[in-house]
Point group: C2
Chain length 123, copies 2
DNA sequence: CCAACTGTATTATATCAGTAATACGCTTTG
DNA sequence: CAAAGCGTATTACTGATATAATACAGTTGG
């Protein structure tokens, strides 16, 4: 079962986007694998304290990206094809790297400053 | 004059928040210093292609944080007290570091993976 | 079988970000 | 002084996010 342990919503970013990202990251990390059962819309919405429609919005995006298989009446399952993982992994890493590099450079940090910062903040 | 060269808005995050962050980062980096003239609401809004009210929202926040001095009819100026810089610097760095560490760990990266990623993406 | 659960759809409402148009009073500059 | 530019305020509108209440059809387990 796909677990949402460790999911902590940040405000300012739409919840459904955060759900999508969380699932993608867990696929990339290998925590979530092909065939994993996804919690139902109703169950997850109750767990996260959001509306079922918000979860549905996230699930629909995952389905459109070929990462989730849904059929009326039946449970939903994570669907991970190897090529998807490579694509998503590249996508997420590029994005995270580009963002942090842009942010830290804008603050005038050198590469060494940046590396040291990550080093000391890695828990 | 406070320059917005290098400002590139990302979608998904409110523009006024991005303006505030951009100014703060430029203060932290020393590019923007005490007494720098800020572009008027109308000029900056035209430059960024957004509504004057959006810029006003950002400027109001900067003013409330003691980083901008505005008076009806007159130009606005950046107001940087040394203690502000230290505070903002700490604030922004902690935030950037915490975010990237959280993101990369969620994708299953080790500290070494993360450092290598930053290293190769630093331009 | 059938009740419980599933995915899916619809409609209504509230809030917020951002746009748009306009107005007013103050400061600065030629 | 007067015009241009400035900060500030107000109102109305759109679109996106999210909630809420239902409803319906398909699947599944006891």
């Amino acid at each position: 079962m796909l677990s949402f342990n460790g999911f902590a919503a940040v405000d300012g970013i739409p919840i459904y986007i955060q759900i999508v990202r969380f699932v993608k990251r867990n696929i990339v990390s290998g925590v979530t694998v092909n065939g994993d059962e996804a919690p139902s819309r109703r169950v997850l919405s109750a767990l996260l304290g959001v509306n079922p429609n918000t979860v549905q919005k996230a699930y629909r995006i995952l389905e459109e990206e070929g990462l989730l298989s849904s059929h009326t009446g039946a449970k939903s399952y994570i669907e991970v094809k190897p090529e998807s993982v490579a694509r998503i992994r590249r996508e997420l890493l590029e994005d995270a790297a580009a963002t942090v590099v842009k942010d830290l450079k804008e603050m005038g940090l050198t590469k060494e400053d940046a590396l040291a910062l990550i080093e000391t903040h890695w828990t």
